[in-house]
Amino acid sequence: MNIPLLSLMTLTPLVGALVLLVLPRDRHGLIRAVALAAAGISAAAAVAVFLVYDTVRAGFQLAERLPWLPQIGIDYALAVDGSSVVMLLLTGIVIVTGVLISWRVDYRPKDFFALLLLLVAGVYGVFCSTDLFFFFFWYEVAVLPMYLLIAVWGSTNKEYGALKLTLMLVAGSILIWIGLLMLYVASGINSFDLFRLQHITFDPLTQSIAFLLFMIGFGVLAGMWPLHTWSPDGHVAAPTAVSMLHAGVLMKLGAFGILRIAMTLLPEGARIWLPVLLVLATVNVIYGALSAMSQRDLKYVIGYSSVSHMGYVLMGLASLSLIGTTGAVLQMFSHGIMTALFFAMVGVIYDQAHTRDIAAFRGLICTMPAVSVLFILAGLASLGLPGLSGFVAEFLVFSGLAQAQAWLFVVLAVVGVAITATYVLRLIARVFFGPPEAAWRALRDGTPLDVAAGASLAFVLVAVGLYPAPLIGPIVGSVLPIVRRLGGVE
């Protein structure tokens, strides 16, 4: 494939953002079209990457390399392996649906979409860059527009949420920065290239310290307990599309970082710290689920549920088993879609009802059937109902943990699923079922765009739930060498 697919995918949103900046402020139609075009092209490229990726050959493909600062050993290097292909697909889907859902943003849409595209460019970049410097570069690009997106277009206590989210993510990123510098210096090969660093065995002390730094740094983004508090507040404050992108994709960046950098380069460090991660992740699951149960705001419930589900991802990674880690990456994908659908639908409800207080709603399914059905579907996926992607991912994570003989954690994780079922069903019963409230008589169902976006997400949930092989193939290909290097269970 001669056209540089990965660069096309990553840079299209940036170009889109620049084009948007030039457009006149009041041409909302044109602005939305350009935004959708940019998102669409990048998503198409992501899908093309997914299709072109040869699962049999596995390993890193579609590599592109451009010397950027050779003197220091930094190249603009892009390549994808199994897991990044899946995550790129997720990003493509979520950004397109995000833009569709944001069709109704009418306060300065130009800046909104420009910043949103910047955010997604950062995310694309992270998933497919194999140069550690650029991994960090794109990671920070994703954080760059965060404050303004939430502070200007957000909702409940948006400034506090925006500030806390941005600062905690940047605080997390400095730990990664120090970790990178330590690796660079310890390696002595004067290069940030992932492949060359892979062949170096660092001394145990550096490995242990560096892994801890990466774990905490990426843990902040992955919503690891106790660094998770930005997630509920941030997502509640953020506008719909941003929470979709953020909870759906950005939180996976954290887990992906741990997999791509920490576990690949520092096997010794992993063996020391993964058990700790397993404990923290379990706390994530139970703590998140229980906190979600007594929240009064719809988005807070989803926020805490994201914390809980990210717990499963981290458990999968920490299970040191092939099936578990594959489950973790699949859970990243499935939870990404699920949360995006959740936030999309809540966004539609909030735009008409202007409140997200659970107590205020009742019988929404009568006035907003499509939105309610899609929300319920997302709810069922989140409680791990078979036939939807949630179940497959969680089942793999649990089998992975079982293989690793971590029985206490298996029990706690499955109990977590039960608690999730409780609060999801309580929410659905309370908000959607029951006699319709007179106050919400005026609510109209989501616009065709909203329903289309929601339906496509729902379709993905069901498709992956029924036939996950197309995703699991590439993931296993990329995770196998890592688990083998860590000496995990195959």
């Binding site: 507040d233 703590y287 079982a402 409780t422 019963a429």
Partner: protein, 629 residues
Amino acid sequence: MVTTASAWLLPALPFLAFLLTATLGRWLPGQGAGIAIVLTGAGAVLWAPLLGALFVEGPQLYQPVWFTVGGDALHVSYIVDPLAALVLGVVLICSTHIQVYALGYMGGEARFGWFFAVVALFTAAMLGLVLSASLLTLYVCWEVVGLCSYLLIGFWFDRPAAVEAAKKAFITTRVGDVGLLIGILLLFRATGTLDIPAIVTAVQQGAIDGGTLTAAAILVLLGAFGKSGQFPLHVWLPDAMEGPTPVSALIHAATMVTAGVYLVARLFPIFEAAPVALAVVAAVGLISAAGASLLALVQTDIKRILAYSTISQLGLMFAALGTGFLPAAIFHLTTHAAFKALLFLAAGSVIHGTTRQKLDELGGLRRSLPVTAFTMLAGAAALAGVPLTSGYFSKDEILLGLLDRSTLLFVATLAVSALTAFYTFRLWVRAFLGPDQMHGHAHESPAVMLGPLVAFTVPSLLLGFLLFIPFGPSANIIAFLAGETGHPPAQYAEIGSYYHAHHEATPNGLVLGTSAAAALAGAGAAWAVYRSGARIRRRLPGAAVLERGFFIDALYRWLTTQVVMRLSAFFAWFDRRWVNDAGVNGAGRLPAVVGGALRTLQTGNLSTYALAIVAGMALIAGIILWSGR
């Protein structure tokens, strides 16, 4: 020619019906109800040749691959053996007839199509569950069945009681499923595979140590008891009556609730290797049987009486399994499906005709609802175990097995049978005999509802005779279930299907006599007490306790509201107050505080600045000397 390999068609047809009605429902004739019935009916029709194929080929196992993760391939494997074949038949026949009945009962419903779509999905999932030979597919169908039960109980979602009941049902079964999933994972860890045949052979070769096996078995039991509404996870079944009656008939009587029994039967070799687990099965079975029958005595709602009776009969089946007599349990499952479905449909017809379901408001309906009265009598007789009815014979088989084990169990079961007979006829007598409470306003149900009623009376009365006529290659139904189909035992063992040299069940006079006596005594007593239509006001001793369901419901509610909610409130508070405000904001404010302090150094006075320069140099000198020493 239909072969066992095409068994996967059976679940596929209803699933296709679900897809069609759910998506194109609005534009299909009768909102898709017709499609659902036709396709399920086709499945039922296909069942007979499949049975024939089984007789010819013997038990077969097919293992198509779903997806592979590294070395391990996850199969969507399915098995056709006597156990599966029989239950398939039960599900298909019950589902078809009940859907026909539902045409009438659900007539004016707004979301008529959606009801049939979910019922079709349920049928497909139940068939899938019965056929599956891999723990993975079994668990998948198990959950989908639970989902359908949730959607159907909460069908009238504008009624808060229905929504609450649906939520309660799903969560309680979900709690059970937690055990099931962990059990599956334990087995997966021990044997490295999810396919039941491989696990069974591993267990039979003693590859798994006793402790793990027992733990896995008991955990799997947790799931079974959740789904079959056995103690302690039975609280949801009575509330599930909030759903439409056809649902109660199909799901909460004939098929879904028996999934627990079927699961234990399918994994029976594992339970045989874990005697402790078998004992638990028997014990819980008996407790549920006794407890539920006592509770049924004090119920006034006719559907709730039948619900408790279902729990009780399932308890009997578990008791039979617990004592090692799988064929007896499965035969009782079959007969129970027939007469319990009949009773529920009849109850539905009563409700349809009188729009009331409280015993106090009913009475003397034999004149206005003759067909319903007669068919319900047949059902009641079978349930009570009146001689020559199917219930009588299937219960005898169980009693036979229990007598072998211990007389105490036998006597207890007899008492339960008597109680069953009593509350069944209490229901029938108070509803149909005595003065006409409805003053002639009750009207008989339309033909489309009465048809299935009559259809179900046939098996309720005659199924018992299967014991005496050959069933395909085997001597009788019991022998068939035991695996004596003329195929080599190795074929059964190799695919992990149940095979047990069948001891000749000599029709023991004692058993036949005592069970007949118990049934007639109970029925007679009920007839005597309630014939006069007198309202017995004096309360049975301890009625208050029974009415509150041994306070188990209250216990669970207290557990969730007080313990779980309070715990979650604590976590939410802790997260907000400590982790967030103190932890994060605290750290956030630190630089500002430091900044405030350092800021005051900038006094604006020049000599302070000069002093700072000198102090700075002193500091540098200090560091150089200190580090240089």
